[in-house]
């Protein structure tokens, strides 16, 4: 597919560094799927769909900064949705979100909530201000919070809240790789689904830029079960845009 022209209909400041951009187009994603967002003349970036018709973006570099300069009525080009998305299992599920990692988990929470699942969310961020989508998670279940600076909830990493993992039927995790690796080391791998971040070039499973060992994050993922990742390079190193190994 060629990029679809998506006009920005609304922009919401979620936290000081994170904004949600709503479009005039619904992409009907499975929670966890992503789109390639083309900021014309600048770059094209992978972004999870945080709503059927929206992405939620943390400003981290040139392209996300360019995105933050766009106004309502401006447009971007969007290809997707791509990837597999989360596999929703029955029972009492636990969501573990770090920073902007809450973006793909919030629609998952809402979909699981709508089908009557019991949901607990562990929500982490650097500071209280940066906690993302707290209300969306609270609307469908319990939320426990951790902040790096202790400004809200537990002081420290969200992984510290992960003591009773056994009682959940399935865990869903998205956040910095370091944090996800800690989760993987702490729980039964087959019970966790991780949404991974790798450098995405083509987005359609051909170039191989996004591979974690032989697995394509853009096509076979971005969601992988922990047991697939257990013996992989996940948590050890990733690739930069040249394909060089970079320690996580």
């Amino acid at each position: 597919m060629r990029p679809v022209n998506a006009v920005i209909t609304k922009i919401v400041d979620e936290t000081p560094a994170i904004r949600t951009f709503y479009f005039d187009t619904s992409f009907e994603p499975i929670p966890g799927q992503f789109v390639m967002v083309w900021i014309r003349g600048v770059d094209e970036l992978p972004m999870a769909l945080s709503y059927e018709n929206a992405i939620t973006v943390q400003k981290v570099g040139p392209a996300t900064s360019a995105l933050f300069e766009l106004q309502e009525c401006d447009s971007v080009g969007i290809r997707g949705p791509f990837g597999n998305g989360f596999d929703i299992k029955k029972g009492h599920i636990l969501l573990v979100a770090g920073g902007v990692g809450a973006a793909p988990l919030a629609p998952l929470a809402e979909k699981a909530g709508a089908s009557g699942l019991k949901i607990t969310t562990l929500l982490g961020a650097k500071t209280k201000d940066e906690l993302l989508f707290r209300e969306r998670f609270e609307a469908v279940g319990d939320v426990r919070v951790a902040t790096d600076d202790g400004s809200d909830g537990t002081h420290g990493y969200v992984t510290q809240l992960l003591d009773d993992a056994k009682k959940y039927s399935q865990l869903y995790c998205c956040g910095p790789e370091i944090m996800m690796k800690m989760v993987l080391d702490k729980v039964t791998p087959s019970k966790v689904q991780f949404s991974l971040h790798r450098y995405i070039k083509c987005g359609i499973g051909i170039c191989g830029a996004c591979c974690v060992d032989g697995l394509r994050v853009c096509r076979d993922g971005p969601v992988f079960s922990g047991d697939v990742l257990k013996k992989s390079e996940f948590g050890v190193y990733r690739r930069n845009e040249c394909g060089e190994r970079v320690r996580v």
Partner: protein, 296 residues
């Protein structure tokens, strides 16, 4: 029944992974190897690490894809480990390499260990005037010769179709001592976003791959088979076993598969088994179909 010897390499089947597809990491090459490929070709590797062009670097168009990755690669200095890892799968691993002149090429070929080298002389980064070096017969001959000196393993030269006469370039490679030619690399192309007037690719234009280019590739293979004494390896738009048969009839001794891997990572196994049934039913061998169109 699909096995063959290609420039001295033993292949269990004539289906290879094309350069630039799932070819940057040992892990991804190994996965393709385990999914039935007869051999794998790596991403084109150059002198220094390169990040490539800015995104969008690939877009789907009618019946194919346009890409302008810009040859992202970790440099040969960081690549031997990936090749070694890929080798664990037990099939030949061919290193695709590129450079701006014969010195670049021979430096890389002299330093890397692989089962063969495929010279990507169709990159738009040549020293000089920025033209593709693969369009200049003298340069191609020169580069081929210097790589042949730098290595003992077979050397294949991958040709661009974006020339007036591909036979001239193929003959130059043959004169330079190439063990085989590979045809074709992508076809020059461009796509524009009509909503905005922007070229879709970050690099503005790129190379067309996929089903759209198969007739172009078949013609190139046909012409090269007529003109050359060395084997021709076909690539461009293969997505099922009939395409492979078509390439072999045109004169390809083996083929490479690129874009179609995206939608079917198991394509090598799938095509192998279909090819076997087809050949059995027709009572044909690989030899029978190789170059058949030139004999009917």
């Amino acid at each position: 029944m699909l096995s063959l010897t290609l420039t001295g390499l033993k292949l269990k089947n004539p289906l290879m992974l094309a350069a630039g597809i799932m070819g940057t990491t040992g892990g991804s090459l190994k996965r393709i190897a385990e999914n039935g490929a007869g051999a794998v070709v790596t991403k084109s590797i150059g002198l220094e690490p390169k990040g490539g062009h800015s995104n969008p670097s690939m877009v789907e168009v009618d019946c194919g894809y346009l890409n302008a990755m810009g040859l992202p690669n970790p440099s040969y200095k960081n690549f031997q480990g990936e090749i070694d890892l890929a080798k664990e799968a037990g099939i030949p691993v061919i290193a695709s390499i590129f450079g701006g002149c014969s010195l670049d090429f021979s430096e890389i070929a002299g330093a890397l260990r692989a089962d063969a080298f495929e010279l990507n002389v169709s990159c738009p980064h040549a020293h000089g005037f920025g033209a593709e070096i693969g369009t200049d017969p003298e340069l191609v001959e020169d580069i081929t010769r210097s790589v042949k000196k730098a290595t003992q393993v077979p050397v294949w030269v991958k040709l661009t179709p974006n020339v007036t006469n591909i036979k001239d370039i193929g003959l130059a490679a043959q004169r330079g001592g190439a063990d085989a030619v590979v045809a074709i690399n992508t076809v020059r192309g461009m796509a524009i976003d009509v909503e905005s007037g922007y070229p879709i690719l970050g690099n503005k234009f790129g190379g067309l791959s996929g089903r759209a280019i198969k007739p172009v590739a078949i013609k190139c293979v046909y012409d090269l088979y007529e003109a050359l004494d060395i084997p021709v390896i076909g690539v461009g738009g293969i997505s099922d076993y009939r395409d492979v048969i078509e390439f072999m009839m045109a004169g390809a001794q083996a083929v490479e598969i690129g874009s179609a891997v995206g939608n079917n990572i198991n394509i090598f196994n799938d095509i192998s088994s279909c090819m076997e049934s087809f050949l059995e039913e027709k009572e044909w061998t690989l030899e029978d179909i190789h170059g058949m169109v030139h004999r009917v």
